[in-house]
Amino acid sequence: MKVLVPVKRVLDYNVKPRVKADGTGVDLANVKMSMNPFDEIAVEEAIRLKEGKNGGGVTEIVVVSIGEQKAQETIRTALAMGADRGILVTSDEKVEPLGVAKILAKIVEEEQPSLVILGKQAIDDDNNQTGQMLAGLLGWGQGTFASKVELAADSVTVTREVDGGLETDRFTLPAIVTTDLRLNEPRYASLPNIMKAKSKPLATKTAADYGVDVTPRIKTLKVVEPAKRSAGVKVADVDELVMKLQAMGIAK
């Protein structure tokens, strides 16, 4: 069974985003970029399935990234974690989730995976769309926001983090899974594995190779900083805090 894992290169989650002075976006020059954390969880899950989880029916893990040339670093990271080969689809223009889903649908056609595992959202645009869109385009089931995945021969059972708690659904294979934070704890790539990953196969393509039109549908008119909160007062002790709460009318 083959698993496809799309990964995205984003601003590292530890870096505080800065809005550019000209209001065109967030400054990505000279800042640390990393694999989207939810995608790391997706890669990890695929590797565990290959290593033997649920009977180890997974035999190959293909990683895809769509973006600028540098996204190949992100693919190399996934290969160093344990994925088998990579596909980089380069694009100079930013590709929206719908465009990404369309390219992925073409890759799915070629690669015929049984499962595609994606992160539930990318922490840059916070869209939370690509997995569901891909599932819609393919007519597959979508186990979104997964905190537990159980793979069987012809179905995948996914426990999903929903507003009220947890919901478990079963999907016929092939299917889409999107990861939530509690699914697993991704491993770090070891130095020998980082070295080994350099010789794993990586194909480079363009959106045009797949015949997909990725012209954006949405134009960003401007990007601004949100209204800032400023630090208030510090109270000396609990009595003073209680007085404040009383003044606000939330304590008697």
């Binding site: 840059d124 569901q132 009220g164 708690g165 478990t168 079963r170 299917a175 549908r217 401007k222 939330i250």
Partner: protein, 309 residues
């Protein structure tokens, strides 16, 4: 413009989040609602009373019993033949459903809008709310999710919409509901609570969390939230998580106890009216956004506070 608003419900009542979506949709044009489920007559009746609604479409079928997106999306796509925008509050149900609808319609979804600037222009948060983008769509049909805390709630009473049954688009047979563990909580729901008390990693374990945070919340009639660290460590279930990738809340008062104030946590609560922080580290980032800060050991301070309230 004719909009179709997703009614979020639990089988018996309309969820509050729906009312914020109705307000957002009313800025675009005429508002119709969609109730999908099984045995949802009562929900449809309640939905028809929401102020400003013209029509309620009701799809009552076993295929929609658990709002399985694989079954509901084709229904919505079909109804979108007659509507210009599909609008839903950004609940997990809608986050699951809407992009699938957008793909079927070949449009780019606009996620989590904060405001309607024009019929094709919206603002939305990016980078965990550290930036606000104004975006304009060129798609003729729109699929939009709405941040519940950014819009006033439409009145739940006062309307008298007509109810119209729509026929089922059937069960696609690719997704089956197995079971759910939905917390039965007597406390106010996080997304509508007026006061929230949240606990972080500093609580050390579930027992401490229950023994310290809950009595304080009960005294204040507050909802209970948590940081990701507290959820990951198993102190409380996932539905407590406030933040970029959890729940977005904006209560009158948010009390953060033993939470450092990582940007991913702030993303979920920094629009609260008053933020109160209790932390033993006077340099904790949470104090940079707190209106009232108390530097101290929570194991001493919280019981004292609960006692004195």
């Amino acid at each position: 413009m004719k909009t179709l608003v997703w009614v979020e419900h639990d089988g018996t009542a309309v969820k509050d989040a729906t009312l914020a979506a109705v307000t957002a949709a009313s800025k675009l044009g005429e508002v119709h609602l969609l109730v999908a489920g099984q045995g949802v007559d009562g929900v449809a009746q309640a939905a028809a009373k929401i102020a400003g609604v013209g029509k309620v479409h009701v799809a009552d079928d076993a295929a929609y019993a658990h709002q399985i997106a694989e079954n509901v999306a084709p229904l919505v796509a079909q109804l979108m033949g007659d509507h210009d925008a599909f609008v839903a509050a950004a609940t997990t149900t809608a986050k699951n459903l809407c992009p699938r609808v957008a793909a079927l319609l070949d449009v780019m979804q606009i996620s989590d809008i904060l405001s309607v600037e024009g019929e094709d222009t919206f603002t939305r948060p990016i980078y965990a709310g550290n930036a606000i983008a104004t975006v304009q769509t060129s798609d003729a049909k729109k699929v939009i999710t709405v941040r519940g805390t950014a819009f006033e709630k439409a009145a739940a009473e006062g309307g008298s919409a007509t109810i119209e049954a729509v026929s089922s688009t059937g069960d696609k047979g690719i997704a089956t509901f197995v079971d759910a563990e939905i917390a039965q909580n007597a406390r106010p729901e996080l997304t509508s609570a007026k006061i929230i008390v949240s606990g972080g990693r500093a609580l050390q374990n579930g027992e401490n969390f229950h023994a310290l945070i809950e009595p304080l919340a009960d005294k204040l009639g507050a909802g209970v939230g948590a940081s990701r660290a507290a959820v990951d460590a198993g102190f409380v279930p996932n539905d407590y998580q406030v933040g970029q990738t959890g729940k977005i809340v904006a209560p009158e008062v948010y009390i953060a106890v033993g939470i450092s104030g990582a940007i991913q946590h702030l993303a979920g609560m920094k629009d609260s009216k008053t933020i109160i922080a209790i932390n033993k580290d006077e340099d904790a980032p949470i104090f940079q956004v707190a209106d009232i800060g108390l530097v101290g050991d929570l194991f001493k301070v919280v019981p004292e506070l609960t006692e004195k309230l």
